[in-house]
Symmetry: C2
Subunit: 343 residues, 2 copies
Amino acid sequence: MVTSRDVARLAGVSQSTVSYVMSGRRSISAETRRRVESAIAELAFQPNAGARALKSQRTRVIGLVVPFGPDADTSGLLPFIETIANCAREQDHDILLVTRDEGSAGLTRLAARSLCDAIVLMDIETHDARIPVAARLAVPVILIGLPAEPLGLPCVDLDFEQAGRLAVDHLAATGHDRIALLGHPRPTVAREVNFVGRFRQGATAAAATHGLPCAVVDQPERGPRGVSAALDEVLRSGDHTIDGRLGLVVHDTEAVQPVLTAVAGRGHRPGRDLSVVGLCPDVLATGTTPPVTNVSLEPRDVSRRAMRTLFRLLDRDPTAAEAIEPVELITPRLTRRRTTPPG
Amino acid sequence: MVTSRDVARLAGVSQSTVSYVMSGRRSISAETRRRVESAIAELAFQPNAGARALKSQRTRVIGLVVPFGPDADTSGLLPFIETIANCAREQDHDILLVTRDEGSAGLTRLAARSLCDAIVLMDIETHDARIPVAARLAVPVILIGLPAEPLGLPCVDLDFEQAGRLAVDHLAATGHDRIALLGHPRPTVAREVNFVGRFRQGATAAAATHGLPCAVVDQPERGPRGVSAALDEVLRSGDHTIDGRLGLVVHDTEAVQPVLTAVAGRGHRPGRDLSVVGLCPDVLATGTTPPVTNVSLEPRDVSRRAMRTLFRLLDRDPTAAEAIEPVELITPRLTRRRTTPPG
DNA sequence: TTGAAAGCGCTACCAA
DNA sequence: TTGGTAGCGCTTTCAA
């Protein structure tokens, strides 16, 4: 291993001078700087992370708690991770991955062992047992999601209420006269993932504004059978004519393709006989058959905002923690595709 | 921050005794152990990772280079990451994420800064510029994938040759009399990802064994248009009757759903009018319409084997590095679904 | 403008 | 069975 002492010896300076050249925290003569820098290059020196962390109390690592594990919805997760990793690298930080099934223990481990300088916590439930633990940690924690009680932790998330409005507004603007909201399987609804309620609220409020009737139907069970049953209930509940004026909003990301398949299987063509708007990542929406009009989850925007807030928290002195938004909601975006009429 | 000195003070022992209680590298009297352990519990002490790494030269971190970035095939990536993370945690190690777009610099950074004890490198190209860099690193590197020249680095991968055989054998066994292999877009073929050739070889060899004609068609361009064109060529090249005896093997994971859609769009039903076997993750195969018979990439098996080899490398003394398989190929598995006949 | 040295928290050696 | 202590490689203070 190459140390800063090796660099110092080669450059003919003291070890502390090498450190100052690297940190820029002291003025260095041009000649000394040149010699040190060429020694660094020659030896391909990079500072030992453990030693630096020990002395500076800064690891330059961000802990990321990802929702891996049984029954996690990991569709659309990668863009979050990718964006977070990229933002970290832009600031010469690295990402340490912790999986959700470690629960609160993962959080305390990160903090107590000084494995990272800050933590990003994803997949927040409305009443998330990790929040009180996170709030007492010695390192700052950012939530991607919106719990009932953030306990002072900054939150970043999509504005799901506006997302619901957006979907319904689009259907209203394209001539539909009734709305149906196809929701999540009962078990998911029970888990109280917070955005379920927020999206629903936005959608129903928008329908009311436009004076449109709005039915809300959940899936009685998980899987294609649940989707099928929910769809039948939707088609039964309205009047029986399929006249192209029913607008279906699919709230559950994982149900979007099954709904399209089930609609086609009943002999209706999405986009002509009835319209479909899904709440799902763009990458999924472009891949469905047919490509579905969707409201995006904006993983990149959400992640970027979370990381911006995180580095602000890390940079400024902790006493002056004002000017950090406690809750940042990202504006959703609707992209029309084949399952709703143009214009 | 709680240190081992705090624990020592509370337990009334020396700081080194605390260290020995934690490591178990010295016999400790029952009474002392009890006092130290209760002090550890009371203070919720966990050892500082930086200090431990500095002294012990072991970070207890595994670097994982993931194929994020432009034009990366990230479908089916999550099970790899999840399994690798779980295996690491089983040995009280953590995962540090590095993205592919850092290239070789990411590798040297991990090693030179002593950020990790070992590296897992995914998404290996046949002539991968990172291999020579990885081979000279001070930390062990495991490849998931099979380059032309591993330069002594252990490799773990699916046995793609056998995967090709498996797909064709299944089609032969279910009464098909001709095979077509629908491959990748030209740009991908050109990038020489190594498994392309291996799979193709296995498939054509198996077809020859069964005495079946086997056409090989690549996609002229990326996207649904490329798939469509390739499919047309397949249907044109054989005789023109669609008699349920044509077996189509789709090699490109991302083309599997588009192929099914295109087949249906031409008025044929997959599984009745012609059969389709895809090389893709199970999670994708169950989600297509209709669910497609697939040969799995076995991400969990591959990852587990890679991590087992990695920890062996880490545990044993480095001189005795025999008994490590230089190349481990995982046996693929075929699951019949709706797109091929039963039995 | 530069150097010497203390010390971050831990592991492991040497003594007792 | 236990304690004292050197020292891992770095950052930063104090001196020159």
